[in-house]
């Protein structure tokens, strides 16, 4: 389809602005715009049609089943969109005086209290904009905590298992720590013996996702926490998989000192095609003094922004964080109350049901009960029929499903990481299983069907190599290249897609 710039026609516009009868003011000549930006020129009907057509070429949880592992693609309740648009929230300036933001602060304070209870920890900052920024904030808290104890120079190492999301090692580098890897054992837990050898007085902490990206609860988590705490180090919980354990097991009770929560996963902030998200962090009392400013505190019936935190790491984002995300997640949690436990139970039930139905047709690297997600391997299909996990993923599209996460975690070859979430009906789960089983049969009988998939999407398989070799990252107007020249084959790449 056309780009909006290709629909553009000089002289058209979609906006009419208010005009006031005021003298014109000139920008000093040396600062004046010399050439106007080539923004699209379309009338309003064309604008709406363009973006509606684009939306028809996109797939969301509203469109269908979206079992993208580790992304927790659950239904996003519509009432949350209604309440976030209340003018008292939507049109509120973040620098409004405190007496004019009491409702916003009360909502933030209430959400903090809820997250502290769910995590089993003492204090919460809502400020980080996403899970990865929560990680960065948590690691900065570790820096501040050890600096305060005079141990920052000594404690350089952060331990991360080989199943971790790539954000964990990237966050370690961005906060000036060094990475130490630890292996996974034959049951999919952290290899405790390997771990013991790597934790000492130079260790600052562990970053762990539990349940892990394999969808498995680490059976030695208490022992692991003791190893780190005995060494004077801290435990960081990557909350990407918190949807498995709300009301069932709390990170604080597992021994974690710092937790980030992905509000766009567990607590249903719609992800908007890549964002927004929210990455609040919850911490133990000993780390509270270092949390970002401002803190949101309650004094009697009044809520205040407290900047007087001399040991705070500072600010990690503007204002108090992505407030609209808080409104939606708060509304979502209030719809459940203590029944958040049932939410997690059903998420785990759905995942185990899919696992039970699929493990005959695909390899299961760790044969255990799973939590909210599980990882299969298409290694056998690849070996026997030459069809990869990527081919399975692309073929699923033809059956009307979004593919699972593929090629992650890195320790499972040809990985397919499947997370159904709690909101799906049994009929949907069954239809997905039928599709997966049919694809396993097709791999044997008609492998080309997989290798050339998808067949039923607005585009065929896309060439990622071509995109990387000649990076065309904006429209070039008159000079826009025609990439179809010389097109021979489309090379999609067997690399992590998801999380």
């Amino acid at each position: 389809m056309k780009l909006i710039y290709e629909r553009s026609e000089a002289g058209r516009r979609a906006s009419a602005l208010p005009t006031y009868d005021l003298p014109a003011v000139q920008v000093p000549e040396e600062l004046r715009r010399t050439e106007p930006p080539r923004l699209p020129e379309v009338a309003e009907p064309e604008l709406v049609r363009h973006f509606t057509e684009l939306s028809s070429r996109n797939f969301g949880i509203d469109t269908g089943f979206y079992p993208l592992g580790s992304c927790t693609m659950k239904y996003n309740p519509r009432v949350n969109e209604r309440v976030v648009a209340l003018p008292g929230f939507r049109d509120l300036h973040p620098l409004q005086e405190e007496d004019g933001i009491q409702g916003a602060l009360e909502l933030e304070w209430r959400l903090q209290e809820i997250l502290a209870e769910v995590c089993g920890l003492d204090a919460v900052s809502l400020q980080p904009a996403a899970g990865s920024q929560g990680e960065l904030t948590g690691l900065l808290l570790m820096r501040a905590y050890f600096a305060d104890r005079g141990e920052l120079e000594q404690r350089r190492k952060i331990v991360i298992p080989d199943t971790a999301h790539g954000t964990n090692p990237a966050s370690v580098t961005m906060t000036g720590f060094e990475l130490t890897g630890v292996k996974t054992d034959a049951r999919g837990n952290i290899d405790v013996e390997d771990l013991r050898a790597k934790v000492d007085e130079r260790t600052a902490g562990l970053m762990l996702t539990n349940p892990s990206t394999l969808g498995l609860f680490d059976e030695h988590v208490e022992e692991i926490a003791a190893i780190f705490h005995d060494a004077g180090a801290l435990m960081y919980y990557d909350g990407a998989n918190l949807n498995a354990v709300c009301g069932i097991s709390r990170p604080g009770d597992m021994g974690f000192d710092i937790v980030h929560i992905n509000l766009h996963k567990t607590f249903s902030q719609p992800h908007g095609g890549g964002g927004p998200g929210g990455g609040p962090i919850a911490v133990r009392k000993s780390l509270e003094p270092f949390l970002p400013v401002p803190a949101i505190v309650r004094e009697g019936d009044v809520f205040r922004l407290d900047y007087d935190r001399p040991r705070s790491i500072g600010k990690v984002r503007g204002y108090t964080g992505p407030f609209g995300v808080f409104v939606r997640s708060y509304a979502f949690i209030r719809a459940y109350g203590p029944a958040l436990k049932e939410m997690s139970e059903v998420a785990v039930l759905n995942a185990n049901y899919l696992l039970a139905r699929l493990k005959g047709a695909y390899e299961l690297p760790f044969d255990r009960l799973c939590m909210h997600e599980f990882v299969l391997s298409a290694r056998r299909l690849k070996r026997e029929h030459g069809t990869s996990a990527l081919d399975v993923a692309k073929r699923l599209m033809d059956y009307g499903f979004h593919p699972p996460t593929v090629y992650f975690p890195l320790i499972v070859p040809e990985a397919l990481m499947i997370e159904p979430t709690e909101t799906e009906a049994k009929e949907t789960l069954d239809a997905f299983c039928e599709a997966m089983l049919a694809i396993a049969r097709e791999a044997k009988d008609q492998p080309e069907l997989l290798k050339e998939a998808p067949h039923a999407r607005p585009v065929r398989r896309l060439d990622e190599v071509k995109a990387a070799k000649r990076a065309v990252v904006k429209y070039g107007f008159e000079e826009h290249p025609d990439l179809s020249i010389g097109a021979a084959e489309a090379t999609a790449v067997e690399a992590p897609k998801g999380v």
């Binding site: 516009r13 906006s15 300036h93 407030f323 398989r461």
Partner: protein
């Protein structure tokens, strides 16, 4: 009773448990050590029905004083520009709203093409060659820019102009110890930055970040500031207001290496500070150092045009500890709002909007008749005045009459306790400004 967001009946559950081969849901959790099983109910308030949720949140929202009930001249980085209905219409499409990051391009051509169009719009506004798919907000993109500059130059000093938004400076300072950066600030001189002073500070620096128009609304001598940075072989980074770029020159045309900014004013509601989008654009030579997602054009197996996430080896899921950033989630939906908004405005609308804001600003300066804090400087959309008493007192008095007169600069700048930063967007009419003059006068 089944929860409205859950779809399994009791019979479904029984059948599924049987298929799994366990007797109860509880048994599914048998691998969690008993020592870390949570044994009581979560101490949360009881579940609410949808109607009760709306009523409860309406009560909370009613405790806030928003721009619909108070005539507000508050800006200081977050702007009350009009958001057209087409933005709401597009963002309410579930296909956009409820999609994850477009990892599987054949499922996500809509959002991928939209991001490509957004990247084009940001490059057009800023005069740059490449834009990422958005950052968290206008503060974190500044930290991102410092990280890029550190790797490009191998230097660890970053220079921030004091007239750069205090929120932005605070965030850069928070990130600095982790990045191994030393932050140096250059004071403003009469509301803007002195290029000669900046040239000295920029020596051995990785980058210099200035804001145009700056936090005081003043127009910086931006080409001279960029030249000062370039003389020192530091990257010149401009933090710009997208709404100004119909009338102000694009940073790419006066020697900047990167252009960053807060997108909120272009198509996002105030929303008490978020979620919004930050933008980050650069000259092509820095493309492999860019943080975050970038969408590129390609073709499919039939030779048809399509879009994919590209240059992903920069990113954490492949390069892990050597990645250019840890960012994964960005602000795509808000950036989409920005694209729809800029499409709605078009080039003509953007210019008119800038001109209107400037004309209203001059009208307000004259109408208020208060001494300007920086009388020598040209301004855009915002300007600072002295109110002859504590700024916070002036705000309190004005608000008691239903007007929020602006931002108390004493919150961030020593010696400016009597100064207010007044913001006029196109939503404030001359009559509104007359009302402000009435209230602020004594």
């Amino acid at each position: 009773m089944t929860h409205p967001y859950l779809s399994l009946t009791d019979a479904d559950r029984d059948e599924m448990l049987a298929a799994i081969g366990v007797a109860s849901i509880d048994e599914l959790f048998r691998e969690i050590p008993t020592g870390v099983r949570f044994s009581r109910a979560l101490d949360l308030e009881p579940a609410l029905s949808e109607q009760e949720i709306v009523e409860h949140l309406e009560r909370l929202a009613a405790k806030n004083v928003h721009t619909g009930v108070e005539l507000s001249f508050l800006g200081a980085g977050m702007y009350d520009h009009y958001v057209p209905a087409v933005v709401d219409a597009v963002l309410s499409r579930g296909e956009f709203l409820t999609a994850y990051t477009p990892y599987q391009p054949e499922m996500s051509q809509g959002v991928l093409q939209a991001i490509f169009e957004y990247q084009t719009a940001i490059c057009e506004l800023t005069g740059m060659d490449v834009s990422n798919a958005s950052g968290y907000d206008g503060t974190t993109v500044a930290a991102d820019a410092c990280f890029v500059a550190k790797h490009v130059t191998g230097r660890s000093k970053v220079v921030l102009c004091e007239a750069l938004n205090p929120q932005v400076r605070q965030v850069v300072k928070t990130y600095a110890p982790g990045f191994g950066l030393d932050v140096v600030e250059v004071p403003h001189r009469g509301g803007t930055t002195d290029p000669d002073e900046l040239r000295v500070a920029a020596r051995d620096a990785a980058c210099v970040i200035f804001q145009q128009p700056n936090f005081f609304g003043c127009l910086e001598p931006a080409p001279d500031l960029a030249a000062a940075a370039n003389d020192a072989e530091a990257l010149a980074v401009a933090h710009v207001d997208p709404i100004s770029l119909g009338v102000l020159e694009a940073p790419g045309r006066y020697g900047c290496a990167l252009a960053i900014g807060e997108g909120q004013g272009a198509g996002n509601y105030l929303s008490y500070g978020g979620p919004h989008y930050g933008f980050l654009a650069a000259r092509s030579e820095f493309i492999r150092r860019m943080p975050g997602r970038i969408v590129g054009e390609t073709v499919d197996a039939a030779g048809e045009r399509g879009y994919v996430l590209t240059l992903q080896t920069r990113e954490q899921h492949i390069r892990r500890e050597k990645a250019t950033s840890n960012i994964t989630t960005n602000q795509t939906l808000l950036a989409l709002a920005g694209l729809v908004y800029l499409t709605w405005l078009g080039p003509q609308g953007l210019r008119e909007l800038g001109e209107t804001c400037m004309a209203l600003g001059e009208y307000a300066k004259e109408r208020l008749g208060l001494p300007l804090l920086f009388p020598e400087r040209a301004t855009f959309k915002e300007f600072a005045v002295r109110v002859g008493r504590s700024g916070r007192d002036a705000i309190r008095e004005a608000r008691s009459q239903g007007v929020h007169p602006g931002y108390a600069l004493g919150r961030d700048y020593e010696g400016l306790d009597d100064a207010l930063l007044v913001c006029v967007t196109e939503k404030r009419s001359p009559a509104d400004i007359d009302r402000l003059a009435e209230v602020l006068g004594r």
